[in-house]
């Protein structure tokens, strides 16, 4: 009942928000924060009551907070939810990130009611996917998350957001069709004819038909690879991120990408153990290519947010490397494969925290100047030391420095995968060097050197308040006025032609290069992090450090489940 409450509370709140029409808009954000806080508190309570020593470790036995209600008896599909050591941390991560998104969006002024309702709806979809123990239920939640994110990008994004949203929708929806095909294969292949994930894991279908098993794994694998995303199915990701609102990006990267990797652990590995063993090397290779491809392509980006998007591909590649190594039963000891699996799971949590923080920080840039371009910013450590400190910490976390959660993850993945796939693990190791390079270069470009500010009068929701407080806009040069005019147009017609106005501000139509304010003495205006931004971002970084220094509470939950999955795969 507790788990069901946690899952459904957000969507009920969403319905209430939409229903209570007379509620003033300024209350919407507060209620949203309140609901996500309550949900987080419930998850904390659930975590406190979670017995990490329970026998079985999850998947087949040892699921906790289980609830089951008959739904479509003819196909043995039911509302079946439960948590174990793999889903528990991800559910916690989800509620933390949605709370951060709610706090971040407190000042959202564009249709705040629908915005909050969509996020709450998305929260239920995400939590439901992690809690689901039935394939049909999983699929429904999985697809609803795509729908929710589509509307968030299309409705509240910037730049070419309609197109990016459609691309995201089509691509991931097509992927989910492949997933559904795989689920039907699992259903038809099993002796029991059930969609129940626990029973499918206990008695895996298609064990005696390698061809069908392989094909079903292929369908599921492609479906999840699109969502994760893995090379070469990743090209929807940078576009979707670049044009999504900051909070949407944080959720997309922090939570939705995990639905893909989680699917590998929850569905592909325990339900198709023989096929996973047989094709584990493919997972390893795809993982390593994603690691290197994501890192190198990120290195070449000239746009901060796009760069972060590509690092997600790199980080998710590590997850696949770890999970693939877990399937190479013949070549590595069970304990070592468990280490790799634990690492892969920690990586999901760690990436969620750090990348969400990085995307919110990129949102700071957008709110101040409407651009993520490296060339448009410089020396920001002068006017905004807090922003610089937060970005520095997030970057060091993301590059896998010890003391952060990412190190716990990547160390275990690389060390745990070496025995199973030596060449792959050694090839993947330089990934952490390339990410180090790209983050240090990004810090260098954005934070140090001469101060370069992109003036953006009237940009972002808070800028207006600030000007109201000081009484007059910071500069009233013709160039900024021209820019403000462009901005005004954009507000009237979001999505149309916005990209040209902002990304090419030096074009003659836009008042020359007047917007680039090159100053040494910090004469420009770049408001440092506001209290709201700090409250949204800093806890994510603090959690990452906490896990990095004291990983035991998290690992105590994950390790039994990781052992269980390695055992299930070894069948």
């Amino acid at each position: 009942m507790l788990l069901t409450t946690i899952v459904l509370l957000p969507v009920l709140a969403a319905g209430a928000l939409l229903g209570l029409r007379r509620l003033p808009d300024r209350w919407v954000g507060r209620i949203w924060v309140l609901v996500t806080t309550v949900d987080l508190a419930l998850v904390a309570w659930m975590w406190a009551g979670f017995d990490s020593d329970a026998s079985g470790g999850g998947f087949v036995e040892g699921l906790q907070y289980e609830a089951k209600v008959r739904w479509i008896p003819t196909v043995d599909a039911s509302y079946h939810v439960g948590v174990d050591g793999i889903s528990m941390p991800l559910i916690a991560l989800t509620t933390v990130l949605f709370l951060a998104a709610a706090i971040w969006s407190l000042r959202e002024q564009k249709r705040p009611r629908r915005y909050a309702a969509l996020f709450l709806f998305l929260q239920t979809a995400s939590l439901g996917t992690f809690a689901a123990q039935d394939l049909i239920l999983f699929f429904v939640f999985f697809d609803l998350s795509i729908v929710g994110m589509y509307f968030i990008i299309a409705g509240w994004g910037h730049g070419n957001n309609r197109r990016s949203a459609l691309k995201f929708f089509l691509y991931t929806f097509l992927g989910s069709l492949a997933l559904l095909l795989g689920f039907i294969g699992l259903f038809l292949g099993g002796e029991e004819r059930t969609f129940d994930m626990v029973r499918l894991a206990a008695n895996p279908p298609l064990e005696d038909s390698p061809l069908m098993g392989g094909l079903v794994l292929l369908a599921i694998g492609i479906g999840l690879a699109v969502k994760t995303p893995l090379f070469p199915f990743h090209t929807w990701l940078p576009d979707a991120h670049t044009d999504a609102p900051a909070a949407g990006s944080a959720i997309l990267a922090g939570v939705l990408l995990k639905l893909g990797t989680y699917g590998f652990v929850r569905i592909a590995m325990p339900m198709l153990p023989s096929a996973w063993q047989q094709w584990a090397m493919v997972a390893v290779v795809v993982g390593v290519i994603s690691v290197l491809w994501g890192a190198l392509v990120a290195l070449a980006q000239t746009d901060f947010k796009r760069m972060i998007a590509y690092t997600s591909i790199n980080h998710m590649g590590y997850v696949l490397l770890g999970l693939g190594a877990a399937g190479l039963v013949g070549t590595a000891d069970a304990d070592v494969r468990v280490v790799a699996t634990v690492g892969a799971t920690v990586q999901m949590v760690s990436h969620g925290l750090l990348t969400a923080a990085l995307f919110l920080l990129s949102g700071v840039l957008w709110a101040r100047g409407g651009t993520y371009g490296f060339a448009r910013w410089g020396g920001l450590a002068r006017p905004a030391p807090l922003f610089a400190a937060a970005l520095g910490v997030a970057a060091f976390g993301s590059l896998g420095l010890p003391g952060f959660s990412s190190f716990i993850a990547e160390f275990q993945i690389i060390a745990g995968a070496l025995q199973a796939a030596p060449v792959a693990a050694i090839l993947a190791a330089p990934g952490i060097l390339i990410t180090a390079a790209l983050f240090l270069v990004a810090i260098q470009r954005l934070l140090t050197g001469p101060t370069v500010l992109t003036a953006a009068a009237g940009y972002g929701p808070e800028a207006g308040e600030e000007f109201a407080a000081t009484g007059s806009p910071p500069d009233s040069t013709p160039a900024t006025q021209a820019h403000a005019a462009t901005h005004a147009e954009r507000v009237r017609d979001p999505g149309a032609g916005a990209g040209t106005g902002v990304q090419e501000p030096t074009s003659p139509t836009n008042g020359g290069s007047g917007q680039l304010t090159g100053t040494r003495a910090g004469g420009g205006h770049f408001q440092d992090l506001s209290a709201r931004e700090i409250v949204a971002i800093v806890p994510l970084l603090a959690l990452s450090v906490l896990i990095g220094l004291f990983p035991r509470p998290l690992l105590d939950v994950i390790e039994p489940a990781a052992s269980a999955i390695v055992q299930l795969v070894s069948r």
């Binding site: 003819t74 450590a381 160390f411 025995q419 030596p422 270069v441 390790e559």
Partner: protein, 659 residues
Amino acid sequence: MSHSLVLTLLIVLPGAVGVALLLAGRRGDRSAGPLAVATTLLTLVLAVVAAAGRGTVSAPFIGIVDGGNLELAVDGLSAVLIITVAAVASAVVIFGTADLPRADARARFFGYLLLFTAAMLATVTATTLPTLLVAWEIMGATSYLLIGYYWQRPGKTSAGTTAFLTTRAGDLGLYVAAGAALAGTGSLELAALATADGGWRDVAAFSILLAALGKSAQLPFSAWLSAAMEGPSAVSALLHSATMVAAGGYILLRMAPLLEATPWVATTAAWAGALTALVLGLVAAAQVDLKQLLAASTGAQIGLVVLAAGVGSVAGGTGQLVAHAAVKATLFVVAGAWLTALGTQHLDGLRGAARRYRGVGAAATVAALTLGGVPPLSLWITKDWAMAGSGGALRIVALVGAALSAVYAARLLAVVLGPGPQPELSGAATTPIGDVLDRTRTRGEHGIGTLRVPTTTSAVAWTLALVAVGLGVLGLPPVAARFTGLLANPGQPVPGFTELALPGAIAIVVLIIVLVRPTLLGPLSRGVLARWAGLPALLTPRPWLALARALARVDEVVIDRGVEGAATAGRGLSNTLRHADEAGIDRAVDAVAARTQRAARGIRDIDGGVIDAGVHRFANSLRRLGGVMRRPQTGLLHQYYAQALVGLGALLAVLLLVR
């Protein structure tokens, strides 16, 4: 206090105070200096107690396998190193309080410095791979922050980036070594590595060597040392004496049993060390910038430690590590004092500096003579002790490398002990080399300097110099025997007098020649050696950036367009289908409706309109059906997908129901 508590505090105290200073930000600037001095001095006391107590500490970290914990222990080697590290850190922090301008962000500076010290102390006491890797990489990251401390000035941050990325490239070796440890021993204990099965032991040994070469700036990673000179003087004094570069040498000494079990890696290490001593010795002799000269000499001197580890001379290597730390800390402190006082680190600008500032000048002279290997000073003994186990070509290369230290020591002495600057010689245009011009710009930035050396700095320099000289007692056989026993490294011969006499004599002769005719080194400074023998080219990111851009292009043009092409083709196909639909099925439906109508009309004609209304309704509904069927044909791809999904679901339901 229990031994393990002391050991815990040894790491946690500087670490926690460092973090607190960083969190305090500019508010902590005023109290940062005294707090840092107190912390490092207390750490030094803790280090002495811990060295005597030999405690162990363990904290849970990574699970599943043995050795996943964070574990620290103090044995002989660690005992020597924690005292060295804490002592040098104390000296450098005291120097830093005197040298760093008052207005700087001192809390940030000393915060980084303390964190860095804590990381180095953890590195030399770590007994498991996760512990080592944590400490090792935090040390690398804080070195980046320290080198780039003056981030406002151009070039500083990128110098830090170069240092961090180069050392991290080596660090990858430790990740691989951890994997090899898991595979070969099933545990992550450092001590277990020497017993790893077959090939895994080779992998582990080579990977650790790689990490050590990166950290210690050995060939081919050496050039980051040059970039690291962009950091404040106190940072150079710490990074290039007892910490950072010393860590690579330390880890090889620590892993001596593993190297012994893997002879080819041991040989590789020995040669890498000897060749670094030779090449960086030449580079140092060619430098015209004091800090660059000292940086190159650091790599060369640590090369002898690496050589010692390769040939199994643990006691000699440790002695060299410690003595070098004292010597090099002295020289960097003095170089920093001169930089502050005179506004230059260029040798031309430092003419007569030792005469002008006699206090630090004398300390520098003693330290430089020690560096040059002049008997009976400490490095004379430890250098030879370090190479005691080598022979043949390796020994000759090492001896030449050692002799080169007399050359660069003499070059330094010739300048600072020589006559003061001629008025027309001071200023920018003394030498045409690009590097020199770069340095003179530094000089411009620093102006004419404060023209004074604080008493604190002189005291620190003298203390360090006295320690450097005092370590000469390692040459006394009873002391040497105790030292060897402390490090549990028996069987290695302590070099006798005859072995020591030759290099000592060479050092003195070389020193005198260069002191008398310093112009002999002029040609060297105009060649490639002045530019670090081309080694910086190895660290250029250009090929990687080019590869990254090429892949990004492929990503955009091939993969993404490919996907979009497929989507476009899909839409084209659906359009075609829609046309076929409209032309074929839809028309057929219409035709059926029309014919039914016609038939209805016929029936009405025949039947006189009895069932007229019914037929009409049927026809209309058919027509409406046609319209309905047309409605899903929107041409929008995602709606087709949704329809396909519903269809699949329905199909499935039918399948199940009729099963």
